[in-house]
Amino acid sequence: MAWRKKTKKAAPIAQMSEEDVREIEEHVEELVRSQLPLGRVKKVVRMNPDVEMLNNEALQLMAKAAELFIKELSNAANQNAALEKRKTVQTKDIDKAIKKTWAFAFLEDALDGWPKLEPKKRKVNANSGQDETVVEEETIIEEEEEIHVEEEEDEELPETVLEIDENEEIARDKFAEQF
């Protein structure tokens, strides 16, 4: 009896308008939703022979982590492109970003297969350039850019520490804003 009385004396529930409720629901759903398709992420994960089964929460977490990775990688590549005052981001910028930050060290092996990044294959392209004029022009442009890059590498060394800090701060601030 006393327990029932206590419940009756409780304060009434605060009411909200339907529009406010809908806005908050949409906001929460946007936070939880991920932009990558889960089926594809699952396929990529299961290509590993070690992995047997994967939890639903783990799948969501992996997709969100992949989003974070893409954002951070594109941010670093964009900075490298901005240093050379170019509007188009190229593979070279991504390659530089991978070499500068130690967190991306595991990606160095992944890019061994790309023929354009290896010097030996560049020579092969140069040899094949003798036959076709279009290829010659492309190789010449690439060589010039390479020389230009080599000259700037020394200048960029003292800025690596600052860039790392900036990346970390940017990543944290954006997530702080989201939540």
Partner: protein, 403 residues
């Protein structure tokens, strides 16, 4: 001169034998890397000679990579609107992302093997990120996991950090994320409402300072052990939140009408809470719901203030608008109606309806149930989901009767 015929031979092999590529991909990682080299060469040569890059790229993307459109969309959020992306850069980023996913997944798989488990959980992924040096990812991911569990009303284990993990400096000022529910010596505790249910007593506005250490982010009493919420019931739980604009009248018929007017109803199956209410209010089943209605928002309003109250209220409502949550809604509402319609009935029938609700919960979380059972290694999981559902039920009913 020499490399040309070799490449041509590889082209012929690739076109003639599509099957060995798939077989090689399923083998070791080194073979996978080797296949990547072959594929890139074939792509470049096809673009030069045959002028059909779309076909081969589509096949490769569907097999190994995430879709380019989604990756590029995410990349452009970090770039200026005027900036452009070269095709090579897009493909390179695509490959980097798939490499990242497989890298972390393999680390998590090793962690599972250490503890002799086969299913990778979210905590394993967090531990893998901490072990591999992705500290900047671990903290936001922990917050994301907490928000995800809140939005879907899922309870899970407390994350145990890797022993070598050190929090990065920019996150040191952030507080650790608390779990939604955990058990303490005083009783079962909920962080959102800050009340404790211990047997027949309910303590409101209980402070968390004594039990939850803010600095280390662990429980004081059980800091050493790995805490799992109620291992006897691995199924994730769904919360009961019924909102009414009118007071519920105790009469059966009028009460039923009042519940019909309510649009959104959800069921949270917490066995301790449910046992408590059912045991206390056996003769009057009506007041099982009013208590939940009045306690939760009341505590939020008093303790955390209006802003957080506004944020936390729709979390419960978000579930019926979710993708996978829409289907079971009418089933749960019908079961609730049946309970109200049969108030004067005996306790056994009410108990039957309770088990009926659990059946739907089993159907709803079919996959997760199998995963959890495999984790425990105590109950063998059959392939068919239906016999698993039937096996789970008889274990719970006798315990309730004994209590």
């Amino acid at each position: 001169m020499d490399p040309k015929p070799i490449n041509e031979g590889m082209l012929l092999e690739d076109h003639d034998h599509g099957m060995p590529e798939e077989e090689e991909i399923t083998e070791d990682d080194m073979n996978g890397i080797h296949n990547i080299e072959e594929d890139t060469r074939t792509i470049s040569e096809i673009a030069m000679e045959l002028h059909h890059p779309n076909k081969s790229q589509v096949l490769l993307d569907q097999e190994r990579f995430l879709p380019i459109a989604n990756v590029v969309r995410i990349m452009k959020t970090q770039m200026d609107p005027q900036a452009k992306l070269a095709k090579d850069a897009k493909e390179c980023a695509q490959e980097c992302v798939s490499e990242f996913i497989s890298f972390i997944a393999s680390e998590a798989a090793e962690i599972c093997n250490i503890t002799k488990r086969k299913t990778i959980t979210a905590d394993d992924l967090l531990t893998a990120m901490e072990a591999t040096g992705f500290d900047n990812y671990a903290e936001p991911m922990r917050i994301f996991l907490q928000k995800y569990r809140q939005a879907h009303k899922i309870t899970g284990p407390i994350h145990r950090t890797h022993p070598d993990y050190v929090r990065p400096p920019q996150f040191q000022m952030d507080p650790f994320v608390r779990p939604l529910f955990f058990d303490t010596e005083q009783g079962r505790r909920c962080t959102e409402t800050q009340y404790v249910i211990n047997g027949s007593e309910i303590v409101k506005n209980a402070p968390l300072g004594e039990e939850w250490n803010e600095q280390t982010g662990t429980l004081n009493t059980r800091a050493d052990g790995y805490y799992m919420e109620e291992p006897m019931e691995p199924m994730p739980m769904e919360e009961v939140e019924i909102e009414e604009h009118e007071e519920i009248i105790e009469q059966d018929s009028l009460g039923a009408i009042a519940l019909e007017q309510q649009g959104q109803m959800q069921i949270y199956v917490d066995p301790k809470t449910k046992q408590h209410f059912a045991a206390k209010e056996t003769p009057n089943g009506m007041e099982l719901y009013p208590l939940i209605i009045q306690d939760t928002p009341l505590q939020l309003e008093n303790v955390s203030g209006p802003n957080q109250f506004v944020m936390n209220m729709p979390d419960g409502r978000a579930i019926p608008h979710g993708m996978g949550q829409e289907e079971p809604q009418p089933v749960s509402s019908s079961s609730v109606m049946r309970k109200i319609g049969q108030n004067p009935s005996s306790y056994a029938q009410q108990h039957h309806h309770v088990s009926h609700v659990e059946q739907h919960d089993d159907v709803e979380y079919e996959e997760e149930e199998e995963v959890d059972q495999v984790e425990e290694d105590t109950v063998p999981v059959p392939i068919a989901p239906r016999p698993a559902a039937t096996r789970v039920q008889p274990k719970r009913t006798p315990t309730k009767r004994k209590k």
